[in-house]
Symmetry: C2
Subunit: 158 residues, 2 copies
């Protein structure tokens, strides 16, 4: 998994300000606060969770702004958008190389610190005129908890 666009991860507010300016985007208090919330939460979050966390600091903020900002951050390489296919879209503040385990039962998404070489796939994509932004390996199946519920221990009687 590699982020293709050459954007540095915005580690702090200064990086974010620079990144926004470089891309001709405005620096607004909403964007700064949403960024801070993402860093502090430090895990996969839904847009609604971000909205809740940010509303405490910026009571007037609106849902459309949160959605638009999260999408912008995804384009800037500051977060990674994950769609589990079950439940709401998640935003991952970890943009470095890693894979995802997606439970098809409960929708949980875990990080997996294993990388895959997507070089050939990226080259093939570009040959087609596709402009890649990010390549990611996702493994779906049953998480440990849901797998256990499916194959119960013999000692456990209903």
């Amino acid at each position: 998994m590699a982020t293709i666009t050459t954007t540095n991860e915005a580690r702090d507010e200064q990086d974010l300000r620079r990144t926004l300016r470089r891309r001709g985007q405005r620096v607004t208090s909403q964007r700064l606060v949403i960024h801070r919330a993402l860093v502090e939460l430090g895990r996969h979050v839904t847009a609604e969770e971000v909205f809740g966390a940010v509303s405490q600091r910026l009571p007037g903020i609106s849902r459309p702004t949160v959605y638009a900002t999260l999408d912008l951050f995804d384009e800037l390489g500051i977060v990674r958008r994950i769609s589990p296919g079950e439940g709401p879209i998640l935003y991952d503040p970890r943009v470095g190389d890693h894979s995802h385990l997606v439970c098809r039962r409960c929708g949980a998404v875990e990080d997996l610190d294993v990388t895959t070489d997507a070089t050939r796939a990226l080259a093939a994509a570009r040959r087609r005129g596709f402009e890649p932004h990010h390549a990611g390996l996702a493994i779906n199946g049953l998480c440990a908890r849901c797998a256990k519920a499916d194959n119960p221990e013999p000692s456990a009687l209903p």
Copy 2:
């Protein structure tokens, strides 16, 4: 990309019947007709498209049945569920090894006949108690059409 569960692709109706019976599932006319529609369409389809195609043959069929059947087929390895993160979930009748190009602008999903070795990731997942079903590489970015709209030819004036 590898389908982990040892299910044969149901090439025809007989294969589907066997697959369903083997898994203790009932063979119903709805499931047979949905399967036939998937094979005939032969491309990424939405649940709504399947519903439309199937309604012509089985006028009384309901949306919940289509959704439930498509989910079942995904579990059986007959289709692959794709969530582009933009727009509705897609179902891919091609279950063999391939990757996906997802356009972040228009949501289009293209197949890419390039495979990735997910062995290490799958092993790591199992070590965690995760039961993998399928591993897939997805590349998001801009499709050729949307990329062109973003970087217009110098000769084209607005």
